[in-house]
Symmetry: D2
Subunit: 117 residues, 4 copies
């Protein structure tokens, strides 16, 4: 057993941000009109968390349009199939970049890079 | 037993909006910097729901400042103690106005008026 | 304009419970193994709310099985397409029964009856 | 820049589980009667997630009792001040143990150990 390294702690922090972002906002009523304000609020909310330097949320408008075209209502709810997210976590020594995007119908969250500063 | 009246159905709809708003967004990381975008996103999201004509969300900045001054972190999470909300539901025949505000430490949601149009 | 009646207030309460139940728990990681404990927790949680006499949540196992058979992961997340819910609200004078079930791909919440006691 | 190590990826996964657990369930209506079923549902739900071997959730009953004694309602809502959580993540090569507990009024999530198997 070893104590966690600083890099591992930074990766743990990046994971927290992704779990937070997804499970806080999944289920939010969503339309083409409300997508932009939801993106901004998600970014601003998660950027409050410790060591979180930047959050970029994109609600894929063409996928949302396609889902609404099939639906009986003129709104739907936020799920991973509409989301692409990049989060940069930055403690004193390490910068971690992680992403979420759809992979085989499942919203996959993955580390992209871990960089010593 | 009687079938629900149109006015009762409109009140039921108003309740759905309040339960949605509160339980979708409670727990969101919140600071003075992110309060405005969260207010907007909450309003836009709930206005997507059926028969919902208007939603006004106010995150009480002075209460948020006071909570942050006591805390060890520079952000907190959204709970009812920071919120005042007014929702107007409007189906063809009835307009319902309902409000949420703190009452004795508890975020009380209440019907304010039911008006035939 | 008129003050809300007691029956209207009871219908508003029933709506709050539905909005709460759906938006608190939508997005929860869900499998055949975890469905029963989630049903119980949803019922017990919502029954805490004022005037809520009974909550019955059924996660439709055959729909869940079908969704998992199509997916690449062995779990999914709770959405309305898996849910049937009945809630009974009961203040001193009125009993309100409301239900949620899928209707044309949309989780429809509806008043079923309002009864003076 | 380096590719993430397997240990770092396991720590990222552990973080996702904590963010999910907290932000999915924060805000849930909670009483002494409903605490046990909520603990079980939280454990079962998070154990669905990839690489998650074990989740132990304890809602601190004495803190909940104290909060309810101060309140005007006979229930409250789940927040970090009531929670202690341990999560074990286990991919093929690494076992990560992480914990959440209150630290200075803030629900601190931390890596406890990272062990090569």
């Amino acid at each position: 057993m070893t104590d966690p390294t600083d890099a591992e702690a930074a990766c743990f922090e990046a994971g927290i941000k992704f779990g937070t972002l997804y499970h806080q906002f999944a289920g939010t009523p969503l339309s083409l009109e409300s997508a932009a304000s939801l993106e901004t609020a998600m970014e601003d909310a998660i950027e409050n968390q410790p060591y979180c330097r930047a959050v970029a949320v994109e609600i894929q408008r063409e996928k949302l349009e396609a889902a609404l075209a099939e639906a009986t209502a003129d709104y739907t709810e936020l799920t991973g199939r509409f989301l692409e997210v990049e989060i940069v976590v930055d403690d004193d020594d390490y910068e971690v970049v992680a992403r979420m995007e759809m992979d085989g119908g499942y919203p996959l969250m993955q580390l992209e890079s871990v960089r010593e500063r």
